[in-house]
Symmetry: C2
Subunit: 392 residues, 2 copies
């Protein structure tokens, strides 16, 4: 999942994301809660309509951002207090509130509030996070169940319902049959701004709620966390508290250990990971879903992922380089622009440098996952995995 | 012509420009001369290959930028001295040198060096500029003639000729038949990095050279300037020294007066103009071509051109506005995104705000010119013109 923090994958239009084959985006609840505000997004008919993206969206719970923006957050038994990084105003996110906000945003996959502990941390702190995250998971699940049927979810309260509907229809009509199928599935989960009275419209589906496993690098704590979540039966399970500073070997080991504790018929999502190598290594260890800012953030800093390793495009040696970012790549950027031009754009501070490198890097990631899926489908993943080892 | 100062229309990919129906871009010789340097662009096979744009390009002579970047330029009888705004280094542009640099860039339409005088200016200063610009026009014309057949023009001196060729072929193969025809015409004028020995390759065509009319708002000086240029027989004529501070009525009046002095079978190009209204008014006065930063620069400042007038998208009143930037517009932006979202992007400082507004504004301009051409073709321009008067 490319990361669209504030409801946009920085530098990409939604049309470009579709062309790259992006199936699902991640958006950050914390950022959207503060700006433009979840009430506005709910009134606009939810995040799909607001940002013109008629495909799946996953929102995080907001907890990770609160804790990662240092000194702005404080955890209590009841939830997290945080100060806005925009205006210093104080806010409180309880497990129930995190669900409410995500329902207002109208995402397809929503996450329970969790406490994510940095590495290294005392066993006591990690254990506390496991217990708190488990309790909050139950509260989140109960809140979601209670919301269904009573208040509906993510229902808009104003605006002209027909306008965004027809806008999304118009977008859909430009897409291929398989994409339209995906949207048809999706459409029913786009929140309606009509009250939920009997109508020709299909009822809004509930979003999928994923529980988050904590436990740091302690396998017994990971097991304790998993066992607590399994009782609650989530539609998917995320591995939190990894890629927060621990050695990579330990991350792989804990991901593998945790993944095999989780049900095979539910998605296993490793949050905030990772490098192109991580994707292959962690799929080999049982992970199905990832999100990471690496392809987009690195792109804006002029670092391109290629089949030959990283290309730091501002480097002087590319000033007269007529080859594409990655000679083995077939993305729209590599089919059209030489390195010399992309370097020039970065040196001259032109937006297009970041745009093109983002487009290329996202293609690199999406393509890698596409190849992984294909190799799994045809029973060739072991070979793919060992070939990936040999790459730079 | 959208303005691609440094070889990029800020925020747009070349693919997006094609989708908008952009037929020709303007690039600034001054900027490309300084960065990345015209030698690099020549080595890369010219600007078309460098920036992945297999369609027409017009380059200005560099003179206007030198003079508009205050205190950096000085005019002598032989040309203009200027200091780089990047590193303060000193450079000299003679009429011949301006041609050489533009040949190295490999544009399809190139301009003679001129002296552009701001408004208001003494009659003496304007007269001097007319005489200087006329002399320089002759020198430019002679330089271009001398370049043809002897040194060729815009010939690359290094690199792998096959790589960018196949790259441009690959781009062309994705285009429609009419676009391919346009590229086939264009292709022959893309500079080859092969020496001009007999080969299967068609000979590189010479670019079209346009002379520039000066004369401020004095009709007799405009006439004197035109008469000097007509003797030299240029392939097109540009009106310089307008839209530099004079009242709009005076600009229209001088444009009309000057246009009717120029041959009807050659393009008449009004440099640096203008507003959407200016396009209609000046076509009515005999102008065929325009370039202006207004649609792109305004977009980056959050100002959208619409059928209802300007929309300043950051305005609070758009925070919950579900309608598109322009309800009467069918551009990719207005078909997909609500004002509320675009406002959010600007408020949050997200690149996509500038990108989407640029795309919309360029569509607005391109569409206006398309409608003007259509109305001329069907003898309905007078009606179009009077309707445009009634618009906001």
């Amino acid at each position: 999942m490319p990361v669209g923090t504030a409801g946009t994958v920085k530098g990409m239009t939604q049309g470009q994301l579709e062309e790259l084959g992006v199936q699902i985006l991640l958006a950050n609840t914390y950022h959207l809660y503060l700006r433009p505000g979840y009430e506005i997004i709910r009134e606009q008919g939810g995040l799909h309509r607001f940002m013109g993206w008629p495909h799946p969206i996953l929102t995080d719970s907001g907890g990770f951002q609160v804790l990662s923006l240092k000194s702005l957050g404080r955890v209590t038994e009841d939830g997290v207090w945080f100060k806005s990084h925009l205006d210093g105003s104080t806010h409180f996110l309880s497990p129930e509130r995190a669900i409410e906000v995500q329902l207002a945003l109208g995402a397809d996959i929503i996450m329970t509030l969790d406490e994510c502990v940095a590495y290294p941390a005392s066993r006591e702190a990690v254990h506390r996070a496991v217990k708190l995250t488990g309790r909050w998971a139950r509260q989140a699940k109960e809140k979601l169940s209670a919301s269904q049927g009573t208040e509906g979810w993510g229902l808009g309260t104003g605006g002209e319902p027909s306008t965004p509907d027809s806008r999304l229809s118009a977008i859909s009509s430009q897409l291929s049959a398989s994409e339209q199928l995906s949207i048809a599935n999706q459409r029913s989960s786009i929140p309606s701004s009509q009250p939920p009275v009997p109508s020709a419209q299909p009822p809004a589906l509930s979003p999928s709620l994923f529980g988050i496993v904590q436990g740091g690098v302690s396998k017994d704590l990971r097991r304790e966390s998993v066992e607590g979540l399994l009782e609650l039966e989530f539609e998917g399970y995320a591995l939190g508290g990894l890629s927060v500073g621990e050695p990579k070997a330990e991350m792989y080991d804990v991901a593998e250990y945790t993944a095999q504790l989780l049900p095979r018929d539910r998605p296993r999502y490793l949050m905030g990971v990772g490098t192109p190598e991580d994707l292959v290594e962690c799929v080999a260890r049982g992970i199905d879903m990832f999100d990471c800012v690496l392809p987009t953030r690195n792109a804006r800093n002029g670092s391109a992922f290629t089949s030959q390793g990283k290309v730091i495009i501002k480097n002087t040696k590319y000033a007269r380089d007529e080859s594409p970012l990655d000679p083995a790549c077939e993305c729209p950027v590599c089919r059209r622009y030489p390195r010399s031009y992309i370097r020039h754009l970065f040196v001259a501070g032109e937006m297009l440098g970041a745009i093109l490198t983002t487009q290329h890097n996202l293609h690199f990631y999406i393509d890698r996952m596409r190849k992984i899926r294909q190799s799994l489908l045809f029973g060739a993943f072991a070979e793919f995995h060992s070939r990936a080892h040999a790459e730079p």
